[in-house]
């Protein structure tokens, strides 16, 4: 009996980590864009939704009846959304210098546009996506794990480690950190700050697309999928500490696990509420988030 509770708990935990990885990838987008441009991008949920479509339409054979394998669709989706990010950065750039209320409204306005362009292009009703992996759960020590969930966790982990290595080692990554820390000095040192920001935006959008395409077989794909995940990714971004890269990862995982545990053990009806209440409590105790805010220096 006690074994049973342990395995249920472990299963809930893995589910939470899976959804948490999704939130973390979305939160990373918020965080990277915030620390480099000082922009709180409320359209990021919609960018996640568009990214999901950019990949899944190839996998579902929605483009000229051409059906491509899942890994290829995954890569295409990330690249297309990253390219889209380069365009978006240009639109968002003037918003980054406004005060928060206007920034909020401007990005929400863009979210409206993306939402409705998606409805016009792909229809308002969504579709379920078949997982490329078998649907039968793998059972390890009495814990049933969905292969797609494990894929989501694994790939997300690789992407997060890759991002950290890139920021720490690569020249471009170092330039990004420098530009985030001090725009003016970085600019004086010959770093093309606007170009770096565009790359940051592209990476944020690419990560969001990766999250969406990985989660697509678990969730239902439709144009309104962005709002809920956008809000939770934003919560994870705040929870971990705005602008912090490890913060976004920790915040996403904590939020996902919190949600799964409260759904499994406390009340499935109040799952959203409990997660928000805990988040508010965390902010009361540590107003700068779990890991701490990275202060940004706006010019």
């Amino acid at each position: 009996m006690s074994m049973n509770i342990v395995s249920i708990f472990l299963q809930t935990l893995v589910g939470g980590i899976g959804i948490g990885s999704l939130y973390a990838l979305v939160a990373l987008g918020y965080s990277m864009i915030y620390r480099s441009m000082g922009l709180v991008n409320f359209a990021h949920g919609q960018i996640y939704m568009i990214g999901t479509y950019f990949g899944i339409i190839w996998y579902q054979g929605m483009v000229m009846g051409l059906q491509v394998p899942y890994p290829v669709a995954f890569a295409i989706g990330i690249l297309l959304n990253a390219a889209f990010g380069l365009v978006l950065e240009r639109i968002f750039r003037p918003l980054a210098n406004l005060d928060l209320m206007l920034m909020l409204l401007g990005t929400i306005g863009l979210g409206y546009v993306l939402d409705n362009v998606a409805v016009i292009t792909w229809g308002a009703t969504g579709f379920a996506v078949q997982s490329p992996l078998p649907n039968t759960p793998i059972i390890i020590g009495g814990v049933a794990l969905l292969p797609q969930m494990l894929l989501l966790i694994g790939v997300a982990a690789i992407l997060m480690i890759g991002l950290n290595v890139f920021l720490a080692r690569a020249k471009m990554g170092k330039a990004m950190r420098a530009a985030a820390q001090d725009r003016e000095t970085a600019s004086a040192m010959g770093i093309p700050v606007n170009g770096t920001n565009a790359m940051v935006f592209a990476i944020g959008c690419g990560l969001a697309a990766a999250a969406g395409i990985l989660a697509a077989p678990i969730v239902y794909v439709n144009p309104s999928m962005g709002a809920a995940v956008g809000l939770k990714g934003f919560a994870a971004f705040i929870l971990g500490g705005a602008g912090s890269i490890p913060g976004a990862i920790v915040g996403g995982l904590v939020f996902g696990v919190l949600e799964a545990i409260s759904a499994g053990f406390i009340s499935s009806a109040y799952v959203k509420g409990i997660a928000f209440v805990v988040m508010i409590l965390v902010l009361m105790i540590k107003p700068a988030g779990i890991v701490g805010e990275v202060t940004i220096d706006k010019v």
């Binding site: 909020l104 929400i108 409206y112 928000f276 988040m279 009361m284």
Partner: protein
């Protein structure tokens, strides 16, 4: 000159009043009146938001919860105990105001985007309670069968008659808001918005006024909620979700944040323009999104801000504009 301009002002006011009062009689159909009534409800919420966000600088994205408090108070009191609107109105206002003041307590600890998130989170939590506590709220099915009001023997039982009730509330709401702003409370709000540290140094009890600004926003939304419940006779939790709070925020910013007239312009203007463009379906919403971005980038003061800019540029003198008493300091920063 002074007499002439004040005569023009009274003529404009008089003609305006006649046009407004005659509106339900000349409106093309009942649906238009219904939309205008709904606009009145948006305006009340927008004025509440303006007082706390535009004047006191307290970001609040949780208006939907206060609105819901008023609406649910009215709906429950009416369907369970048969209470009329004039009983429900003060009770709804008090409930929404108290809830708003309580919500303001955790808000005092955080600022800017954290505050935005906390208010969204609190409002979402209240919405989840409305969905789940079925014994009280009937859950997602909502409460139906709320009666339209009957005041002093006059039945406000159609959109045309209800129009006058909403109108009275909007006018009273506007006058009260103006009174608050010219009072010490309003000046404290503005001082806190402009620089809370300086306000504190000048002896303004900052937390007290921040809580007060939220409570006032709550009361305004409470009025809007009671009016809404008695107007539509049916309410459900999805009406009070985040998207409608966002709609009020958008209307306020487009009208002019930090200006009561902005609330009137945005609250009446935006829904009407939206109705007018309804035929374009999703393209309408795309256009709406683009319009929001253009407003944010090119006229951040909203419609009212744009009007002021034109006036300052010497283009037009509005007949109702206040007489300029002060010369703009020479060499000072130009508002542009």
């Amino acid at each position: 000159m002074k007499n002439q301009s004040s005569i023009i002002k009274w003529i404009v006011l008089g003609v305006g009043a006649i046009v407004v009062l005659a509106f339900p009689l000349v409106a093309p159909n009942r649906y238009v009146v219904h939309i205008v009534n709904m606009c009145g409800i948006w305006v009340l919420m927008s004025m509440g938001l303006n007082l706390c966000m535009g004047y006191c600088g307290q970001i609040n994205l949780g208006l939907g919860a206060f609105w819901a408090m008023g609406a649910y108070a009215a709906a429950l009191l009416n369907t369970r105990f048969g209470m009329p609107i004039w009983v429900n109105m003060p009770l709804g206002m008090v409930l929404a105001g108290v809830v708003a003041a309580l919500i303001a307590l955790p808000m005092l600890k955080v600022k800017s985007h954290y505050l935005a998130l906390v208010t969204i989170g609190l409002a979402e939590t209240i919405n989840i309670i409305l969905v789940n506590e079925t014994w009280l709220t009937e859950g997602p099915l909502g409460i139906s069968g709320i009666q339209m009001p009957n005041l002093f023997g006059i039945a406000f039982d159609g959109d045309e008659r209800y129009f006058y009730l909403v109108l009275i509330c909007v006018v009273l709401g506007y006058l009260v808001a103006r009174q608050i702003l010219s009072h010490r409370i309003g000046r404290s709000f503005i001082a806190i918005r402009d620089d809370d540290a300086a306000a504190r140094a000048m002896g303004v009890n900052v937390p007290k006024f921040q809580i007060m600004s939220n409570a006032i926003a709550g009361v305004y939304c409470g009025v809007a909620g009671v009016l809404y419940a008695h107007m539509t006779t049916y309410i459900s939790p999805d009406i009070f979700e985040f998207k409608n709070a966002l709609f009020v925020l958008t209307a306020t910013l487009i009208g002019g944040m930090g200006s009561l007239v902005g609330s009137l312009v945005g609250g009446y203007g935006m829904p009407l323009v939206q109705e007018w463009l309804r035929a374009f379906r999703n393209w309408q919403l795309v256009g709406f999104g683009i319009a929001i971005m253009l407003v944010v980038l090119f006229m951040p003061g909203g419609v009212v801000g744009l009007g002021q800019k034109i006036e300052q540029a010497g283009g037009i003198r509005w007949p109702w504009a206040r007489k300029q008493t002060e010369e703009k300091p020479k060499g000072g920063p130009n508002v542009s």
